[in-house]
Symmetry: C3
Subunit: 123 residues, 3 copies
């Protein structure tokens, strides 16, 4: 595997890339629970489901699944929703090992999302 970084641009005009691959490590930009039109899903659980679907779609471009995640950072506008996220997220892994995680409360996110996740995965 080449040590050169490979950048994967978003299919729209953006100030950052969707993903960068360095050797076996894949860095993803932060994902929120919006659809292709930039509309947030309605309600926290729906946002989490859409956000996880967006992460899965990014990983799928590299033939990876969610079990390729090694590290995630979770930003919430209401830390009272962390347990709900944890439950929904862990359910995606069943028997597979979970990534490391840090989580913290933020004042605001893009599009006024309630949650954002930043991921590192392993090819």
């Amino acid at each position: 595997m080449s040590p050169e970084p490979t950048f994967y641009a978003y299919p729209f005009d953006a100030a950052f890339s969707e993903a960068v691959r360095i050797g076996n490590t894949l860095y993803l930009s932060g994902h929120i629970g919006d659809d292709d039109n930039g509309n947030l899903a309605d309600g926290f659980e729906a946002e989490v489901a859409q956000m996880i679907a967006n992460v899965a779609a990014s990983l799928a471009r590299f033939d990876l699944g969610l079990d390729a995640l090694i590290s995630v950072r979770v930003m919430l506008t209401d830390m009272g929703q962390l347990e709900c996220f944890n439950r929904l997220f862990a359910a995606c892994f069943s028997d597979k090992p979970l990534p490391v995680c840090s989580a913290f409360g933020v004042t605001q996110l893009a599009l006024n999302a309630a949650i954002e996740i930043e991921c590192v995965a392993r090819l």
Copy 2:
């Protein structure tokens, strides 16, 4: 060293792993200043001391010390306490080189902790 990731689960039910090792890099989940019963230490300095002890305990599973840290991210609910953290943290390294760091104020942390640290270390 194998390029395969190795996941180290927490000894209790959790939505994430305690650590993931990829080659020579070790990613740790965020640590706060709580004891094995999930009780926070009393007061900021005690929280920092317990938090650093928790990081040291995670590193010790890999026969590493605090000097193995290469990058830390510090989240505080009161940035006025950053200098206190800096002083306590730097004192753990004496002559050894310090990791890189970013620090920022957050609205809330797990268990209403005053501080959380997310670490990357080198085996």
Copy 3:
């Protein structure tokens, strides 16, 4: 390239290093828009310009330019200024590929800065 980490201390007393190099990966401490005397630039756009200049100066110690960045994390005290940052930041890359990014609102930053950026680069 040696797998041993190399730490680059700040030229002043600090609780962390300016940069750590591990193989081909370079981790930088968070940068804000302050000058060598610790004075913040006046106004958001000036802070961003100074902050980017500070990142560029760190990278230049390793003979790298901004295009070596692979991952950035942007912390803002006012998420309403994210688009302004995005515009100024993307303009530094012209045709070159952009790093991945996550951005979030924080309660406070060091020196009461309006923005901080944490970077990972590739040698």
